[in-house]
């Protein structure tokens, strides 16, 4: 049995099924990160004193990571646009770059975590560090998840382009929605944790 509405929109929703599915998933993700942001606000406003992120964390590395993630967002949307323009070779380059930039983001994050751990700074040391490691760790896991999906679409999953190009293009659009959401979360994490 074929999965319905993978290419064309359902008449009642006006969307292909995967797109509605991923938006509902992203809505649940908003609540997940929202709960943690809310906890952060509660902990911060309730604490007698709270350290400034810029005094404890590495701003240049985090700024570089912001640049890396924003760049990966445009390579992701360009991968989708390349498919829409029927240029598969360009798509492969852009999706490969997106995976590479995700990997680069994680390497930078590993350097940041490594510097903290080698200095004996662990989540158990303070509430600020506990929420910092929780939020950035959860975000990092989301980056890993996105890299796995995008890596699959760069490699074995890209075979679908030759048999069902429209369905494959929709898959990349949906994968892109998730990846941009991960970028969006970082856009808020960066100032909240590092700069305030």
């Amino acid at each position: 049995m074929q999965i319905p509405y993978t290419v064309h929109a359902r008449p009642d929703t006006g969307l292909f099924n995967a797109k509605l599915g991923v938006w509902l998933f992203l809505a649940s993700e908003v609540m997940l990160f929202g709960a943690l942001f809310s906890s952060y606000v509660l902990l911060r406003t309730g604490a007698p004193s709270w350290p400034h992120g810029f005094e404890m964390l590495n701003i240049p590395l985090a700024t570089l990571n912001t640049v890396v993630l924003i760049t990966s967002s445009i390579t992701m949307v360009m991968a989708w646009a390349s498919l829409k323009m029927h240029d598969f070779a360009k798509y492969k380059r852009y999706i490969g770059a997106t995976v590479g930039l995700g990997f680069f983001f994680l390497i930078i994050k590993a350097f940041e975590y490594g510097a903290k751990f080698s200095a004996g700074t662990y989540p158990s040391e303070s509430t600020f560090l506990a929420i910092y490691f929780t939020l950035t760790g959860l975000h990092g896991l989301h980056v890993v998840g996105g890299m796995i999906v995008n890596g699959y679409f760069w490699g074995p999953g890209s075979k679908m382009w030759h048999t069902e190009p429209e369905r494959f293009t929709n898959r990349i659009e949906v994968a892109g929605l998730y990846w941009h959401f991960v970028d969006l979360v970082w856009i808020f994490l960066f100032p909240v944790l590092y700069l305030l």
Binding site: A27, G46, I70, K84, L184, I187, P191
Partner: protein, 100 residues
């Protein structure tokens, strides 16, 4: 994004994506520059969140194609926004009632 967009239409969109990318980079510089002003907490939080909201809106509107999305997506997001606002107002409620 419409499923009937032609390659020519997409080429126009690509120019917009590049402009959005440049704007996001510029706003990242602004975000970092604000932190070097060493403002007191309230104006620093307000300014940082305004810039982050502008950046987030650009990503959602153009990269996630929300600018011309279907009504059902907006309905889902409005509902999410209501629950998110309730979640974010919890610390305020607890603080005012001094539950902790």
């Amino acid at each position: 994004m419409s499923e009937t967009d032609s390659p020519e239409e997409i080429k126009k969109h690509v120019r917009v994506y590049v402009n959005v990318f440049v704007a996001l980079m510029g706003l990242t510089v602004v975000t970092v520059a604000i932190s070097y002003l060493h403002l007191s907490v309230v104006p620093a939080v307000i300014l940082a969140l305004i810039v982050a909201t502008i950046k987030g809106s650009l990503v959602a509107s153009y990269f996630m194609h929300l600018i011309n999305e279907k009504k059902l997506i907006f309905a889902t997001l409005i509902l999410t926004g209501i629950f998110f606002a309730a979640l974010m107002s919890l610390p305020l409620i607890f603080q005012n009632d001094k539950f902790y």
